[in-house]
């Protein structure tokens, strides 16, 4: 049994964990839920030895232990998949999997790559990932990298004798349905040896998988419920402290878009490496969702519109004006905003504070003759911190220290406040708690009312259906089917899936 007693943690300006008691029985799967910034990741990092608690004890089978470093924790059989990706991008997959534990493959100072590749293949097999272990990690898709992280942690199984505790911090947020099922199978299979702590903002997942669920609010465990008996609504209420609106996607606020005003037009655009032509129009006030399986080429479309890659053929017009120079600065200048999926790389500048991050793409509006208007910047930041209830000590806090969900909110505020007329949202609600998701849906509706065009790659099919006016099903880089999505006559997820696979 693994136990935490009376754990305390403070950072300047925040009391993150307030006397948390927590235990996991052998072979148990424990869910951990809570709002953004409630302290979930911090708690996990304490268990993993990556963060030191200010007070409290950690006990394994009743004996106190002290992990000064994740290596100590790993030796005791504890592994963790981080919320933000933590693989080293320029190393190969197998080097990442065995990073720091190359010893078994070394003979007379030299690494036996063949042996390591074989072992890596074994680990990858556990997560059913069929890739060459010598692939450079940065070449993998986002979801593949997540599975590699999992495989890396599962290597503990062979490395350590005895019981394991595996910590999964929002492992599912980037995975597809199929991969999630696979992950759950792996978890259930491993129960003989390992117990799990599982953090997710998708409560249905938590409830299907967990034996017990801890509800964390503002650093305090407010409830522990039995996974089999718990209901989503009651947990939500405990997490957020209020009832969640029935009209989750705000369909009552969905207005017709403006047929006569075309914001963006793609005319027979061919993205690099895809044989098909893509054409569509985005109107003022329209939410257009691109749905499809992972790797269907949706992201490529967004990246072409944002000027990150030049399409091979075809033309892109923004408000009637054809785009010639394909560069991000050009697109931003034309009022295009992009909220990317990889928050850590393209979303947030760690080391810069909240207001600096928010105004980075719109410094022109916050300066005169190149001199910044710091007062206005602060005001903007405070305004958005309030609007999206971003949990920060102040607008001067370093964004790198915010919780994952709160970083996402800063990115949203950044692009929303910049007055872009075309906003592309790639998984905008990834890692957000229920309350924050509601705020984002409100924000999307408000944008539509103001005549902003939105292209959405949603987190779930339900979200795509609920939010959009129009849905394009993308498969293998081609738009397979269009759906009209007016309130009252929305398609069902089943209708979409037929064209997706």
């Amino acid at each position: 049994m693994f136990e935490l007693k009376n754990v305390e943690k403070r950072y300047p300006g925040v009391h993150v964990l307030k006397g948390v008691d927590f235990h996991i029985n052998d072979g148990e799967i424990v869910g951990l839920v809570g709002e953004n910034g409630a302290g979930k990741s911090t708690l996990m990092k304490i268990i993993y030895g990556a963060v030191q608690p200010d007070a409290g004890t950690v006990l394994i089978d009743g004996k106190p232990v002290h992990f000064r470093h994740p290596r100590d924790a790993m030796r005791a059989g504890i592994g963790m998949v981080y919320q933000e990706q933590s693989l080293i991008p320029n190393l190969t997959v197998m080097e990442n999997i065995f990073l720091g534990f190359e010893a078994p493959f070394v003979r007379m100072g030299a690494i036996n790559w063949r042996k390591m590749a074989k072992a890596a293949r074994h680990q990858l097999g556990k997560v059913k990932l069929d890739i060459d272990p010598a692939t450079i990690t940065s070449r993998l898709t986002f979801a593949q990298r997540q599975l590699v992280e999992l495989a890396k942690v599962l290597a503990l199984e062979e490395r350590v004798e005895g019981k394991l505790v595996i910590l999964l911090d929002e492992p599912t947020s980037v995975l597809s349905r199929k991969e999630i099922d696979l992950l759950f199978d792996v978890v259930r299979e491993l129960r003989r040896r390992a117990s799990f702590i599982f953090v997710s903002h998708r409560l249905d997942e938590i409830l299907t998988l967990s034996d017990r669920v801890y509800v964390l609010k503002d650093g305090v465990i407010v409830d522990v419920v039995n996974g089999k008996e718990a209901r989503v609504e009651s947990i939500q209420k405990k997490m957020v402290g209020r009832d969640i609106n029935e009209e989750y996607y705000r369909e009552d606020r969905q207005l017709d878009y403006r047929d006569d005003k075309i914001l963006l037009e793609l005319d027979r655009v061919v993205c690099k490496g895809r044989p098909h032509e893509i054409s569509f129009k985005l109107h003022a006030g329209e939410v257009l969702a691109l749905v499809g399986v992972e790797g269907a080429g949706r992201e490529k479309i967004l990246r072409s519109i944002f000027g990150m890659t030049r399409p091979e053929k075809g033309s892109i017009r923004v408000e009637g004006e054809p785009m010639r120079a394909f560069s991000v600065s050009n697109s931003v200048a034309h009022g295009v905003g992009y909220i990317p999926r990889e928050r850590k790389i393209e979303g947030i500048a760690g080391g810069m504070n909240v207001y600096e991050n928010m105004t980075l793409s719109q410094l022109k509006d916050y300066s005169t003759g190149g001199v910044l208007k710091l007062g206005a910047e602060h005001e903007l930041a405070r305004d958005w911190i309030r609007k999206l209830s971003i949990k920060v000590p102040s607008e001067n806090a370093d964004c790198g220290n915010l919780s994952g969900g709160n970083q996402q909110k800063v990115v949203l505020a950044k692009w929303r406040s910049s007055g872009s007329r075309i906003i592309m949202l790639d998984h905008p609600t990834r890692g957000l708690d229920i309350g924050a998701k509601e705020d984002v849906y409100d924000m999307v509706r408000e944008m539509s009312e103001k005549g902003v065009g939105v292209i959405l790659i949603a987190d779930t099919l339900e979200e795509a259906i609920g939010l959009s006016h129009t849905i394009a099903v993308v498969k293998d880089g081609e738009i397979k089917q269009w759906f009209n999505c007016q309130p009252g006559s929305k398609p069902s997820p089943y209708d979409l899936i037929r064209y997706m696979v």
Binding site: R10, Y11, P12, G13, I88, M308, S327, V328, S329, S331, V332, A333, Y338, P340, I345, E346, G347, I348, A349, G350, G351, M352, E356, L360, S361, L363, K364, S367, G370, V371, L372, L374, K414
Partner: protein, 321 residues
């Protein structure tokens, strides 16, 4: 609640503590160290280096490096002297054009440096190192290896006229430092340098023209090198190829000792001020306590390493490059 002092805050102030510690140390060994006269001496040796280090700070904030300063200083100093002497030999009147002239030379060399780095996609390390050699060669070509003397009393007043014990050049340098701070904290380009240093992908994704900004940083650096060159000439009254000597090591160490991360994104010109003072206090202090020459250099090296050790949070780096 007890005020919470994080490791981060402590780390921010370490360079200042190191500086104060060094001052106390040298004062304890020789009380003459702690005198206005000696501080003025430190200030004089520190001012040109401060300008150069401030210049390279902008480049380092972006996560690049500039090693061209010795060449740029040599060319700027020599050009300054030539223009001055050709136009009447006094900075009052047309001869004063020598100052903007030197700054333009610095800016131009910076621009070439930046263009080579950005347009030809050559790492800044290589581009600037090579350009530094070209600069040294160029200044030799211009002077033929000769020294150019400057005896304009007005210009030399930078060194000879003192206020409160410190020569005029110290105040000029402080003024330039404030300008640099303004660029860093209050202008869009300053903010954007931090963004590029913090994450280039992100900066691009936010619509910044990263290539152009890089070139601007090298131009600003070039201008500050030229300022450093002018002050160095003012100090000695001589302009020659040798004027640029030693500035590369001193300025880069100062920036790093001051706590600006070589990886970019954190630090700034105030850190650089502290860094320059640390390096110069060490140099001066060793003389004051009477250590022989050969000992000084070795000690300087060791002290620099320990200062860097104290002022950086190595846990923040997975690898030290």
């Amino acid at each position: 609640m007890v005020p919470h002092i994080s490791a981060e805050t402590i780390r921010r102030w370490v360079p200042l503590f190191v500086l104060l510690g060094l001052v106390l140390f040298f004062t304890a060994l020789n009380p003459h160290f702690f005198s206005v006269r000696n501080f003025a001496r430190i200030a004089i040796s520190a001012t040109p280096a401060l300008m150069v280090a401030v210049g390279v700070t902008f480049v380092i904030l972006m996560g690049s490096i500039d090693l061209s300063m010795e060449g740029t200083i040599a060319v700027a100093a020599v050009m300054f002297a030539l223009i001055l002497n050709r136009l009447g030999g006094s900075v009052v009147g047309v001869g004063g054009l020598a100052i903007p002239g030197a700054l333009v030379v610095g800016a131009a060399l910076g621009a070439i440096n930046g263009l080579i780095h950005v347009k030809l996609k050559i790492p800044s390390f290589m581009a600037s190192l090579s350009l530094g050699f070209v600069g040294v060669g160029l200044s030799l070509l211009i002077t033929g290896g000769d020294r150019i003397l400057i005896d304009d009393p007005v210009f030399r007043s930078l060194l000879t006229v003192r206020f409160g014990g410190f020569p005029l050049m110290t105040y000029v340098a402080l003024f330039c430092l404030v300008v640099a701070w303004f660029i860093q904290a209050n202008t869009t380009i300053g903010r954007n340098f931090y963004a590029i240093g913090g994450g280039e992908e992100l900066a691009r994704g936010s619509g910044l023209n990263v290539g152009r900004l890089r070139i601007i940083a090298f131009v600003i650096a070039g201008v500050f090198y030229a300022l450093g060159a002018i002050l160095a000439v003012a100090r000695l009254g001589i302009a020659e190829t040798e004027t640029g000597r030693n500035f590369m090591f001193v300025s880069i160490t100062s920036v790093v000792v001051g706590g600006t991360a070589l990886a970019g994104g954190s630090g700034g010109v105030w850190n650089t001020l502290i860094g320059v003072l640390i390096v110069n206090v060490i140099g001066n202090g060793m003389v004051v306590i009477g250590l022989p020459d050969y000992f000084q250099d070795g000690m300087l090296g060791l002290l620099v390493i320990s200062a860097v050790y104290l002022s950086m949070d190595r846990r923040a780096f997975s690898f030290v490059k």
